[in-house]
Amino acid sequence: MSIKFLEPADFSEAITLLSEHADDAKIIAGGTSLVLMLQQKLIAPGVLISLGHVPGYDFIRRDADGLHIGALTKVRDIEHSEIVQNYSPALAYAFRVVGNVRVRNQATIGGNLSTADYAADPPAMLTALDARVQVHGPEKKREIPLSEFFLGFYTTALEPNEILAEIIIPALPASARAAYHKYTSISAEGRPCVAVGAVADFDVDGKCQDLRVAVGAAVETPRRVNSAEALADGHTLTDELVAAIAEEYSRRLEPLSDVRGSAWYRREMIRVFVKRALEEVRDGDR
């Protein structure tokens, strides 16, 4: 019954172990999701492969092509990072509202994304920012856009022997602005009923270019609606246009039902919070 706890010294050793133990192994980074699943007996692995002693993946770096965050970076370090704050306050905010302080001290960004919990915060914001992940496998490294990474409830495009290593968030033009809205419907303390990440760039006349809005928590995986985003192209974000885009999101997405809200309510909230997020990117400082 006892589970083996293995502590590889680097990523390649971790991947080798993962390949060796195949379906019997689970990766543990911060542990907040994994230990929970163990305690609730939702999983029963024979082997835990801890990334706790793997060096080199706890970093936040800004390069010319954008922001690079190591998969083992703690949520709380991202929340507090000046680099992230300078890149986009909305991104830092999306990490600040994850769970509670204890969870943020323990959980890593890689773990957060790999778990693919639909009611999580960062995925919607990162999807709107066109982030991609670099994953390491036994033979090769590859990059997957987040929009193709989340496949369904607790399901990702990671192969069984792959590990998420890095998150790359493309550079934002100085003229771009972003917003993140988390809506909790029951207690103030809790997981989102609806999460909306929005990013927009504006030309000198204030006309919108390249609008990206991702809705999470109300749907299985973070979703963008291209037909809605396209409405903004080359236009000023008037109240009418904002309402039309919000309406399009509300109509196009198929929300789920859970204790935080019915599908009907979530459809309504998608409209409200897409609208509020758009108003914030339109009116905000950055």
């Binding site: 543990i28 542990g31 305690q39 769970g99 302080v101 204890r102 969870v103 323990q106 103030a188 303390e189």
Partner: protein, 149 residues
Amino acid sequence: MNLNVNGKRYEVQAGTRTLLEVLREDLGFVGSKEGCGVGMCGACTVLVDGKPISGCLMLAEQAANRKILTIEGLATNGQLHPVQQTFIDEGAFQCAYCTPGFILSTVALLKENADPSEEEIREYLSGNLCRCGSYRNIVKAVIASSKRG
């Protein structure tokens, strides 16, 4: 494996038990409690390298050779920590099942932010639940602790 708790090293056979289980069952640090088992209530809060974490969501192995502080290690030489004293002075507890968690969270908060606003206090402590509803006095106690320095 070794656990460093309240400045002392302990040799333990942790297996894949949680830090909370090992602290309570093997080492007798019973001030931390399991309340919800899912990281929501904070009754199991302990500080690892000075940062609050949920003892129920961390495996003991993950805490090996890191500095663990439990409520039992807060008072020194029989002298209550100032945060403990202000919790008494402000009457910031009732059944007190949650209290060690609140106190350790407060100690960590004040280390990060010596003069937090009421909003910052509420945000930081929002992951600690008190079913008796002592929150108003808890906020007062945190403010009083920050004033004492």
